[in-house]
Amino acid sequence: MRFFEFEAREVVKRAGIPVTDYGFTTDAGEAREIAQRIGGPTVIKSQVLTGGRMKAGGVKFADTPEEAEAHAREILELEINGHMPRGVLVDPRAEVEQEYYAGVVWDGTRKQPVMIFSPVGGIDIEQVAEEQPDKVGRRHFSNILPLSDFQAKEVIASTGVSGSALNRLVPIVTRLARLFVENDMVLAEINPLGRLADGSFVALDAHMDIENEARGRHKKLLAELGVGEEETRQAREATPFELAGEQVDAQDHRGVAGNVTEFDGNLGLVIGAGGGSLTLFDAVRAHGGEPANYCEIGGNPSVSKTCGLAKLVLQKPGVEQIAVMMSIVSNTRVDIVARGVIKACLELGFDPAEKIAIFRIPGAWEEEGFKILEKYGVDYADRSVSLNEAARRAVEKIQGASAEAA
């Protein structure tokens, strides 16, 4: 779950990292008062959970409190990429000598956080890594063992920063890494981290993303930040199709048939198993297929839950066929999933052999599952067929069917 900038700044401030004397408001008049208190040039920044706000006119500079009020009034009405702002942040326009980058990201492959530092800030770190790789320092660290200042020092020093700047930056990066771990984050980024004329450092912007599943562990923090329990902070509102998917998953406690996400394609997907969904979705696209949806099944869903999901996907406008694919399953029964998807076809008046482009779920009770599939003439594959090959066959089949229909 992403934090707005004003929330992320508060988290940074609480961690003991210096921030500017900013203020957040939802009222243009109050923006003027904040600018008055700051007493100098200010920056008025739209608080939206989307990129490109500078380009869209969501960041404006003001020399006087009156100008700050006028800008705030405009920005509060300005929709950016379909998002209305939560409010505006009024920030002093700091005289920055140099902009740096400090971040911590969860590395899903290593299953460890990685701290990243660069003396080139203010732009995307990916761009710096590409253009000036020697200016990006990084290091994985344990999220279980105590964190040492030395680890941050090594990362910063590797980019050529030394002397007083190094000494001042070490506690900032260490605190950032610590708050990342303590708050179960997947991203904690200060960009830019500004060095002022007196040599001190101050966080000028911050981005944070907390693990969704960890929200329950941080109720106090979220309540203090004013984050409502009902706030999903998703990039967009769930569609009726996706909401119907949630209902299918909630119908009983057995297994999972969730994370249903709508796309525009013609190939419905009933997919899952330990990361298999993402792999299969990507494989379908890599072979030129157009998925109608994403979803995750697993944990041995009941026949009725599988049937409910398959019906939902089959009834989605534009869906011509479905592909039922998982990696090798041990805790989901092949025969139960086979029953569910075939039942869905039959109850909707479809021939399973025509509607199911491929069934590729090897694993527990597969002999029984294959008997069911054979009875209804469904094309199935065992474990000798890779996920990638199964996805290719599904795409080939649906493209063939589409060509025939045309």
Partner: protein, 81 residues
Amino acid sequence: MRSDGIFIAVEVDDRAAADPELARRLTEACPVDIYAQGDDGALQLVERNLDECVLCRLCLDASPPGTVSVIKLYDDSAVLA
């Protein structure tokens, strides 16, 4: 008595089905609620749950031999016994 789903059918000897004690045992044993006990204590088969059968054989273990049959309609009507 017999009830058929799409994939599974269950057949129970009529005399056994009238036995409240057997009905209670079957209702307790089945993990997917295929069996229920009516107000009169007799056994009822819950048609909507038949296809949820996980072939666990608990109903067969809970009943005298030959009184309950689970039939796999997708497998040439093979009988689980």
